[in-house]
Symmetry: C2
Subunit: 344 residues, 2 copies
């Protein structure tokens, strides 16, 4: 085996925004599978906001990445060399690949993908963890009822785009929030949301209020910060707030100074009987079968669309990840690590 | 009918702490019941923190009191003169009496009390709204499991004392927080909590952490402010936080300046998958039968105790209410408006 494995290691832990210096690209010989193992040639690597938490030393909701080790993460690839009866050469799989071009696996936590049913890239997108996060959080915690107003930020992204489209399918008004006029137009014109506001507009708060004349019944929280502060006064009695992410906070080094908004939040929680619930999708994998059935059905029926933002080459992963935290991506962010033989 | 009705009116809306000037005592002839009505001679009037919200002009979770009208509130009394078949002279009842010595009712929302089963004063205390608030919030939102740690502030008060004792009955560790050494001793020695901390102690935060070596699984929130900020770092994965009150905030006129704790709260919610849910007990009266059965049973068995702090004379109500917001009461705060013929 003469192929080389390009790996991106966590060289140092970022303070605030990650920089190129926090990562290190190394090349080592591609690994050889031991007994019961197989090698995966990575095709797409997923970049997701949660990875920022794993780069830190503080406790977050997922285990930290280790200094000097390959950055953690998921991807899809093809089995090349297998000593495992369950996985054969040529099988397409989704697994925890890490940021590298080859990985070994013993099959634990590996999901097979059928390229005839859906593009394999969706295994880390609309039919993978981001899609399941949207599906579970919206339906199980948000419990949207027909006629209600559902608001979601990062509305053109991997999770938000699915949240709003499922809200529409369930008969709700779906209001998106995104970071550019182009993204907002896509969210309304392509994804079918009822409206989408640009949080960078000076009058964003007023526009959001105008787009939600009956208030907000479900706010799917994946951003935090100023977007949440604009949402808070609009939350209705008995509203629900699944909390799946806080991307605006991930690079925060110190708590901000100024007005303490905590008493305002708690007053709203009490006065309006609001439910706020954090969740980590890893604890809800038993919803996978229902999710795959529903969402793949909706995709086939043309009711649910998705957009991918594909960066070419693993070398670009650190830069693309830094851009993700600033909202520079447009759609589910993927890194193409090697050619996708299934894509025509 | 020559008796005079002493009434306390809301004269002006407080800014910050209520003062004596916000109230006005007037005397009018006791009212005469019309068709279908009956007159109640008030015996005990309840004073509760939620009344501060009703004094303001801002939207709160209950309707505001009207300027120049009798302050709203509940009490227990005896039927004196009735044109209603369902309620006879001599019946003891709990109803929305307002801050006055006589009121009229058509029976709507009135609950009969049996003085042979429990002291009538408990109809606005441990067997009334405060008790139901504790019972519903802890069991339905907090969902305590045997072996878990439950923390409640205002632990010697009408709600907190019941929360901790039910937690003990359900096999949990109950940790109270109160505002004096005397109250803390009562909470541990009389009510049987596992520990109780004085939030006025300089090292309160450290003592709370030491009293919760396995973290906090349920925090029953009725206080807010610095107590909550001490609780927040101790909340466990999957912990639950019923929010029934925020007494430390009720006199707040402006949001505090300094560190914005909202991002810290949201980070904890996400990282530890915390559930926060506000509730108003008025929406959950269908739990009354189960509550009355359970709690009156626990009282009879000696498993659940209560303490009353009774102020004599309706004239004292404003001062007692102002003291309540500062934690000056010790136990469920009541005003004795007239003699209790059932109390030996």
């Amino acid at each position: 085996m003469s192929a080389m494995n390009k790996q991106i290691l966590l060289k140092s832990r970022p303070v605030g925004e990650p920089t190129a210096d926090n990562f290190q690209l190394v090349e080592t010989p591609a690994p050889t599978p031991g007994p019961g193992q197989f090698r995966v040639k990575v095709i797409y690597m997923s970049l997701d906001p949660y990875m920022r938490g794993r780069m830190g030393a503080e406790k977050s909701y997922a285990a930290n990445a280790e200094l000097g080790q390959v950055m953690v993460g998921g991807g899809v690839g093809v089995v090349e060399d297998s000593n495992n009866d369950q996985f054969k050469t040529g099988d397409y799989v989704m697994c925890g690949t890490g940021w590298q071009s080859y990985c070994l696996s013993d099959g634990t936590g590996v999901m097979k993908l059928n390229p005839d049913q859906a593009p394999i890239s969706t295994g880390v997108g609309v039919l993978g963890m981001p899609g399941l996060t949207a599906y579970y959080g919206l339906l199980e915690i948000g419990k949207p009822q027909a006629g209600e107003t559902v608001v979601v930020a990062a509305a053109s992204g991997a999770v938000g785009s699915v949240v709003g489209q499922i809200a529409r399918i369930k008969g709700c008004r779906a209001i998106g929030i995104a970071g550019s006029a182009e993204k907002c137009a896509f969210v309304v014109d392509e994804l079918g949301f009822d409206a989408c506001l640009n949080y960078k507009d000076a009058d964003f708060k007023e526009k959001l209020a105008a787009a939600c004349p009956d208030g907000i019944d479900v706010y799917f929280e994946n951003v935090g910060g100023k977007v949440f502060e604009a949402v808070l006064p609009l939350l209705n009695d008995d509203s629900r707030m699944p909390v799946c992410g806080l991307i605006s906070q991930y690079n925060m080094t110190d708590l901000p100074q100024g007005t303490n908004m905590l008493p305002a939040l708690m007053r709203s929680v009490l006065t309006h009987r609001i439910l706020i619930q954090g969740f980590i999708i890893s604890y809800h994998f038993h919803h996978l079968p229902a999710f795959l059935k529903d969402v793949s059905g909706w995709i086939r029926e043309g009711k649910l669309k998705y957009r991918e933002d594909i960066v070419e080459g693993i070398e670009k992963a650190p830069e693309a990840f830094m851009g993700l935290l600033k909202g520079k991506n447009f759609g589910k962010l993927l890194v193409r690590v090697s050619d996708d033989p299934t894509r025509k």
